[in-house]
Amino acid sequence: MYDYVVIGAGIVGSFIARELSKYNLKALVLEKENDVANVQTLANSAILHSGHNPEPNSLKTKLCLLGNKLYEEVEDELCIPLLRTGAYVVAHNNDEEQKLLDLVETTKANHVTEYELLDYAEACKTEPNLAKSITKVLSLPTTKVTYPWEAAFACMENAIVNGVEFKKNSEVTNITKSKEGFVVTVNKLDNYHTKYVINATGVNTDDIAAMVEKHVSFKIKPRHGEYYVLDKRVKGFVNHVLYPLPTDLGKGVLLTPQIHGNILVGPDSKWVDDKYRTNNTPAGLEYVKTNAKHLAENVPFHQIIRSFAGIRATSDQDDFIIEESKEAKGFYHLAGIDSPGLTAAPAIAKYLVEDIMHVQDKYSINKEFNPIRFKNKEFGSLDYEQQLEFIKKDPLHGNIICKCENITEREVLDAINGPLGSNTIKGVKKRCRAGAGLCQGGYCEEKVYKLIVRETKATPLDVCYDGAKSNMFVSETKVK
């Protein structure tokens, strides 16, 4: 019997898991994918927004501002990387400048205290490649960029260390009410009994709600967004997150510097029917390219190394929906958590646990709770002397596996064997970036799969790319 079952291990489920582990209770996280952070949390802009544009007094605003601050706390506690970029929202003409002033009003109303209006010349001092058509800029210094996968791993790892159970490849297929609470069925097979259920399933929140409610009060309207990734060699091309003026469709196509030096170009925004299909389309990518040109001069599109797409779990209501089910007491929804959901996630978790579920009134504090999750600095980010130190302690740091991103054997082994280790190619890439660079795994995929084979005592035929049936190889060759 569990106290809490959390469905979904995106950034929201992961922060909730960690928040729950601060109390003496029994919690289980169920995730349908073969890894944490494989859906919305996999494919987004990675921005910690300052809170300049959601509706004043909304949950989105409140939790975005608080979330942005809370990341500063967990940065050291959980080794979640932050890149303090700041942001520029740009205007190109009188009309847009007027809208920029309106945005300043929203910014003030949202209690974002740090902001500044700059003219083009001033903005160019820190951002020399700014598009020449830009006339005014709203500077938002508190905007930051994080590494969403790492953030989710960090929270889930820490939650696991503090007693939470985590099960991947566990799709919730049915939920029934019981005397003590709920019976949650996974993969149409296994049942878990629990007092409370937390529905943090992103695009699936309405489907999950329908398992316990006759009249689901919200509907997810999936919104598709595409990106280009530029190679880390473009580092410094832009230093701030560059936003156009927001529209009804959201924040628009952005240029976003990433933690490892890459720049993301995107996303567009398209309503779609299929919740799951994160495909790229020629039209979407073209749109992204065209619009990025309004932000900067000569965007280095020749440095494109990849494209991808994500689906926002936008709901038919404007705000985040964080509430107890009206029909099923003890069942909690986290729905419509689209942007700024990544930013808000730590605040969402606290708000749910303390203000909505009142866990502090029901369970005692876990005195053994260890807030610290340690991760070695990335080898490639160290200077030569530090690298020598690392190698002295551990010669496996001397063996470079991924040449594009400078990833060492030790880092790959940690990705495989860590507390939340992964035995897939994609899982390893998400944890240590082997294969995330210029050649996209052309050099290192072979080395990574061989390390997975060695470390997990599998055969090459067992190694999967992502899902539990996405095997790399179909057979041995005839002659070996």
Partner: protein, 420 residues
């Protein structure tokens, strides 16, 4: 540690360069990141190597072994399982950071460097093929390595995008291993592979080649493995023509869409780039704009024949040796070699008169297929060479030699191809 010459990369190129420089008596260290010398040749178990150099046909590994043997006989120092991470220009030479499991990280200095780091394959990301992003869309070279070296098949129903040589060779290889090879799509109206490969790898096995076609849609299944692809015919501006869609149910899409010289190690050096070869510019001694930094093989320009790699790298090795002996060869004056009509690129990019004793071997590729052409080389009004050529294709690199005695200081050299 201080060396006269450090050779980075132990493929066909690095081996030949090192052997040649050693013959001149140089003190050399060759560094290879893999556990075996030979580079890409090790996975090319098909025939067709060495006709030019050895007048005999070998497999890739056989060809490599000829050089590896000679390399060992020459008693050249080398490090395996060692990656070069960084190059810095210092006074009178270079400082290199290398790393390995056994020795850890180290700094090594040298007077001259020969870059022979080969190339990497263009990926799906670099050409933005639309669709889902499942596993099973894989570069042909990776698939070749898994198949030929590791002994694993990546799929049973295969389609190939790009008619480059690796793709063609893999079409045959997968077919012979029992896979169903449904076709090869090529964006251009002609193939990008050697003619012999079209015949021996596709025609002989009735594998259809779809010219002026590209992949426009990719579908993955729930487990994120490839399920099907759609190809479409393209018009003259390479845009897909609506209504020409054709779907193939496959578990593997091999990409043979081009190779890119691997010169990331030069990122922090002040080298002059060539946007066409996607590598750097060199003079006839294979020296980059950084004195003492030489480059050859697939890291200079992607070759179709290993014989050319060996010969080119031998020349580069000799030049690096000369550089070290002369301590520092002052670049006194140089002229440009320009790619004229119908030329995609030409190497070398400069004739430097400091290297006047060196012959100038010119290599180029055409921009399109030309049945009959006139190759002319001129300097100002003076014609240096004029030669009729038949059947020139972008897939086959052309080579000729210029007599240095003919070349004068002053105006640039122009290499032209006229369609006859």
């Amino acid at each position: 540690m201080n060396k006269e010459i450090i050779v980075i990369g132990g493929g066909a190129s690095g081996l030949a360069a090192a052997i040649a420089a050693k013959e001149e008596g140089r003190d050399i260290l060759l560094i290879e990141k893999e556990s075996k010398l030979g580079g890409i040749l090790n996975q090319c178990i098909h025939n067709g190597f060495g006709l030019e150099v050895f007048k005999e046909e070998y497999t890739g590994p056989e060809y490599a072994n000829k050089y590896v043997q000679k390399f060992h006989e020459s008693k050249i120092d080398f490090l395996l399982d060692t990656t070069v991470l960084h190059i810095d220009k210092i006074e009178n030479g270079f400082e290199i950071i290398l790393s390995s499991k056994v020795t850890g990280m180290k700094k090594v200095t040298c007077q001259s460097i020969i870059m022979s780091t080969g190339c990497y394959e263009r990926t799906r990301g670099s050409i933005s093929i639309p669709g889902d992003r499942p596993y099973g869309v894989i570069t042909a070279g990776s698939a070749q390595r898994y198949l030929n070296i590791d002994g694993y098949m990546i799929g049973k129903k295969v389609f190939i995008l790009g008619s480059g040589d690796i793709g063609l060779i893999m079409a045959r290889r997968m077919y012979l291993e029992g896979a169903e090879v449904l076709g090869v799509a090529e964006l251009m109206p002609y193939s990008n592979g050697l003619t012999r490969n079209i015949v021996q790898c596709l025609n002989d096995y009735n594998i259809p080649l779809y010219l002026s076609h590209t992949v426009t849609e990719i579908h993955g299944n729930d487990d994120n493995r490839l399920e099907s692809i759609v190809i479409q015919e393209v018009n003259q501006s390479y845009q897909p023509i609506p209504g020409t869609e054709r779907e193939f149910s496959v578990d593997t899409l091999l990409l043979s869409i081009g190779l890119v010289p691997d010169i990331t190690l030069m990122d922090n050096l002040d080298v002059e780039h060539d946007l066409k070869t996607k590598s750097v510019k060199v003079n006839q001694a294979y020296e980059t704009s950084v004195p003492g930094l030489f480059i050859c093989g697939n890291s200079l320009q992607v070759h179709d024949l290993v014989d050319n790699v060996s010969m080119e790298s031998e020349r580069a090795g000799k030049c690096a040796s000369e550089f070290v002996l002369a301590k520092k060869i002052e670049s006194n004056e140089s002229i440009k070699i320009k790619a004229g009509n119908n030329l995609l690129f030409v190497t070398p990019h400069y004739v430097d008169f400091a290297w006047a004793s060196r012959e100038t071997v010119i290599q180029f590729r055409s921009t399109s297929k030309i049945e009959k052409a006139l190759l002319t080389v001129s300097q100002g009004d003076k014609e240096l060479l004029s030669k009729r050529k038949s059947f020139i294709v972008p897939a086959e690199m052309e080579t000729f030699t210029l007599d240095m005695n003919q070349i004068e200081k002053g105006s640039d050299i122009l290499v032209n191809l006229e369609v006859l």
